[in-house]
Amino acid sequence: MARDQRHDGFTPQGQDPWSRDDAPEWRSELAGKSSSHSSSHEAADYTRFGFKELGSPDVMNAYLDGELSRRSPRFRAALVGSRKFRADLSAMEELDAELGRHPLGPDLTDSIMDRLGRSGKFATVAPHRFVTMGRMATAASVLLALSASVLVVRSTPNLFSRGTTPLDAVVRGSAEPTKIEAAGPRVAYAGFVPSVGAPDQSSLGGGVSTTRSWPDGSSPSLASSTPKPSRHLTTGSPIPLVRGMLAQLGRGVNGNGTFEVRTSGSGLAGSFANLAETPGNAAGLPGVMAACVSPEKLWANPESRAWSDALVVADQRALRSPRRSDAWSGPTVWAIDLSSAPGWRLVPVDADAGYASDGISGRRHR
């Protein structure tokens, strides 16, 4: 086998990669290889290695080492003159050829790269980038979704509760005068009971209780109201006032879908203006109105603290002192009955009679 043709990882192109400036020319031909050796170089080799005689092992080694050309006189003389030399040469060339064969081995590229990858070197860049970007995108999406959810819940806190839609609808409806066709003159405050659609709700008042606090800080007990027929009043239109109140109610809606009307003012306009200007200013305010008041039970027995499903438009005095029976002897109290979903009714409630006599019907906007 020609030495030049054996692989060493390189294909010589022009310059011999093995060449060394100060190195003697090591390449010459082995058996069957074309010769380009110079006679002067051969002569030097002869003197350098001191070949003793034709066919000696030194001639063989010089030839096998690439330092003696096959066409050199010394080599040819040994080849012609010694049978043992020819036999040795044949054996050595066979040995050289066999040694030159590379045993086939497995492709270790993947396993080596795996090891390098585990050690952090030559880790695949693109997948890492994609994974990182994917994780970041996922995290950003989750954060964005959470932020949006928080924003939506804060802006419409009753979005995910049963009572949210009625309140929003009522507030929207209140802004449209055509949807409210009657009114009463003495409306002062509003409360709201959001749980529209309770099974036993057929009129004003409903059976769903809430956990809102009374103005004095006590908690109402859970109670179901018994619907009673309403007596609707036929008083004047409360539309402007109700509209304003409902607009304010929309701001007061809390996360439970109920709301609190908080006011410290004595007059209606002042109260709601104050409410609007000082959101969350609930502490110490006298007229904290708890929602979900059942008009019937409220009027019949204020001490029961029953809460039901209606928007109650009440007198300021009543709201200030809900536990005092005389507090409820004020002027007309209005309630918005949401039990007749999807419509609603604005029902004036006579505190003294305990019933509303007439109602104002409307249709909620979806």
Binding site: R3, R6, H7, D8, G9, F10, T11, Q13, Q15, P17, W18, R20, A23, P24, W26, R27, P57, N61, L64, D65, G66, D88, A91, M92, L95, D96, E98, L99, G100, H102, P103, G105, P106, D107, L108, T109, S111, I112, M113, R115, L116, S119, K121, F122, A123, T124, V125
Partner: protein, 197 residues
């Protein structure tokens, strides 16, 4: 692969290019594995050393001196790894005398670690190679298998060129004699040969 191509791959691999590193592995793993199989006489050991040598070389490409050949550096690392393995396994330092023990069944460590030291490849040439001393075997393999010139082998093994030639010439004669004798005794049972140190 030309030297320029190899240098380019080395630069890219040193910069973290995975494809370039794979190119270097594919260009040199066959020759390194062949060298190690002949040197160790064991395929599994050759695979392990080949992998470890590539890992070490590619992990330290930034320390590679481009004036030298990548293959020389790689083979040097592999040789050191192999010598470390031998140092851990053998009871004595390597020498020609240890190499002459190669087929000696009376070796004391045989009973202890025969399974570890038996040669997987039992072809006649490998058996003959394992009977050489480590220096002779390495010189013969580098010269005849890897086509390294005498001067490069001398640098690689850090010995004078004359010493390299001496090992080469002795190794050839010994190989020839061993193979001749094996041809005579061709029908004998396979010989258990040791990693001669």
């Amino acid at each position: 692969m030309t030297k320029a191509e190899e240098q380019r791959l080395i630069r890219k691999a040193a910069a973290g290019d995975k494809a370039a590193a794979e190119g270097l592995i594919r260009a040199h793993q066959r020759s390194l594995y062949a060298y190690l199989v002949r040197l160790t006489g064991r395929n599994d050991l050759a695979e392990d050393v080949t992998q470890e040598a590539f890992v070490r070389v590619l992990m330290n490409l930034d320390r590679f001196d481009p004036r030298f050949r990548f293959s020389t550096w790689l083979f040097t690392i592999a040789r050191r790894l192999f010598l470390n393995i031998i140092e851990k396994r053998k009871p004595m330092n390597g020498s020609d005398s240890m190499g002459s023990w190669a087929a000696d069944d009376r070796r004391p460590e045989k009973a202890v670690s025969a399974a570890e030291h038996t040669i997987v490849s039992r072809d006649a040439l490998q058996v003959a190679l394992m009977s050489l001393s480590l220096d002779q075997r390495e010189v013969v393999i580098l010269f005849h298998q890897q086509d390294w010139p005498i001067w490069l082998i001398a640098e690689h093994l850090q010995m004078p060129e004359g010493t390299v030639k001496s090992h080469l010439h002795r190794g050839r004669i010994r190989l020839r004699d061993l193979l001749s004798s094996m041809n005579v005794e061709r029908n004998t049972t396979p010989q258990e040969v040791w990693i001669g140190a």
